[in-house]
Amino acid sequence: MDARHSTIQRVWRVDKMIKHFKLLGIFWRFSILAELEYRVNFLTNAFMSIFWLVWGIAGASIFFAQRDEIGGWTYYQVLIVLGLFSMFTGIMEAFFRPNITSMIEAVRNGTFDFVLVKPVNSQFYASFHSLTMWRLVDILAGAGLIGYALYKLQVVPTVQQYFAFFALVLIALVIVYCFWLAMMTMSFWFVKVDNLAELFYSFYEAARFPVSVYGTWLRAILTFVIPIAFITTVPATALIGSLEPIEMLFGLAIALVLLFGTNRLWNFAIRSYASASS
């Protein structure tokens, strides 16, 4: 491929990216408008988010009433993990859950056809067209908790640590996204995949605590098989200053493999998709 060609391709890509950001804005505006139709939801959801966060903190406090650390983590360090847990719960509930729900619905009643006949990347559309705004509260609450824990720890992370933290959060986002995308893809074959999401959540529950609190085997599974460790534990270590650089590389590798793999799976599923009621 000569240089000129690849430049053109790059310009074309930027063009595409702008289009997709614009679409994202429009999709989310659309979802927010739809949600505003139901106002009561907001208060209930905000209340529930705070409630579960407090519940989590209470749980951690009970542990730490007996001892000073678990798995090498102190109370406030665990709160950082808990804050990340809450943030990712919010992210999944705000961005991923509504999309998997509407995907199941669309595959079941065949309206997914309308996505496929439009000039839009189907994976992009299916993954991001819908948003539950209320759940952004969890993200804010989680961030608040992280800030509070850092203050209590009297730790001021360096620029590099912040950089590593945000990179790891990004990696975690990709990993979480890939799991949801894989579950969404399953709906092509099995249609009802709600239970799969529940199963994922029960694994995700383990991310409430640093993986070092679990036994060797469970820790290995949570790191390599269902890489929950990279969602909360590893980003937290970046802030605390105990991150092993190899973990970052490893996380990046997992994220890339998953991203590539789930994209391939999606495209394969689209090919074999035969819509409901012919």
Binding site: I26, E37, G110, T111, D113, K118, S278
Partner: protein, 344 residues
Amino acid sequence: MSSAPIVVSNLKKYYQVHDKEPGFSGSLKSFVNRKYRQVKAVDDISFEIDAGEIVGFLGPNGAGKTTTLKMLSGLLHPTSGTARVLGFVPQTRRAEYLRQMTLVMGQKQQLTWDLPAIETFLVNQAIYEIPDDQYAKMLDELTELLDLAPLLKKQVRKLSLGERMKCELAAALLHQPQVLFLDEPTIGLDVTMQTKIRQFVGEYNRRYNATVILTSHYMADVTALCKRVIVVDHGKLMYDGSLAELSARIAPHKLVRVELSAPMNGHNLSAYGEVLKAKGQSVEFLVPRSKTSETASRILSELPVADVTIEDPPIEDVIARVFEQAALARQDRSENDEDESGDA
């Protein structure tokens, strides 16, 4: 290669389906050892459609109409054979192709339930990358043609079925597609609304010289819009040609309705043709096509006639007859080769 916008040759779509015996043990059996059977949803269909044509796609339920439309719109991959629409292979779903076509399904809706239709329109504008001025112009035009003005800002769930269908059509046409696949766009609508939708499709076709394939259970849609029909049954193409020729071939009769000015006094009515109905002073005859004018003039001169109309028998009857004949032909075939359909 042909320059027609839609070229379909030897298109086939076979499905593997599994049969389940009734009851729990049947479910268990099919869970453990599934027997698959091949269903030929579309079986070797070929046709071409020219630019600006409106073609009616007819056939009983399960004939393969929707499957064909889905292959043409890129939703299904054919088992074999090829389809080309506007020079594209549909199932590659190239953006350049998708931008020029649209699919409307009367039984499914793309509009979001909780929001006014105009919001879905805006999403579509972004997806199809329609420039603002062109979008405004097209929206105006569709609003005028479909009387959308009072509907656009209402929540979709508060619209009637007919109103919703109008909005669905608008949402599907904002990007000014050249090729329209309309799968039962008038299903469930009342007669007035059916007429409106029909007129609109005709008008859109005229204005943009769009190519349209339409399936419908309402023959009125087909007779009003389509000069040409394609009849499919059990995945096979039964007929492709003009509507008039179809009725001439299948029903070589005309319907002669006579309004008499005086009661009939022992006239032998059956001398003019097969009497379908004789009630009071109105009579209906079925007369062979070739003898229509001759018979009509005999009726006029020999009977006390107040009014005569000559028409084709209702197209529903004609189509029903096509399917009957197809079913008979199929029976013959399956008697000849009994063991062809086994489990695959």
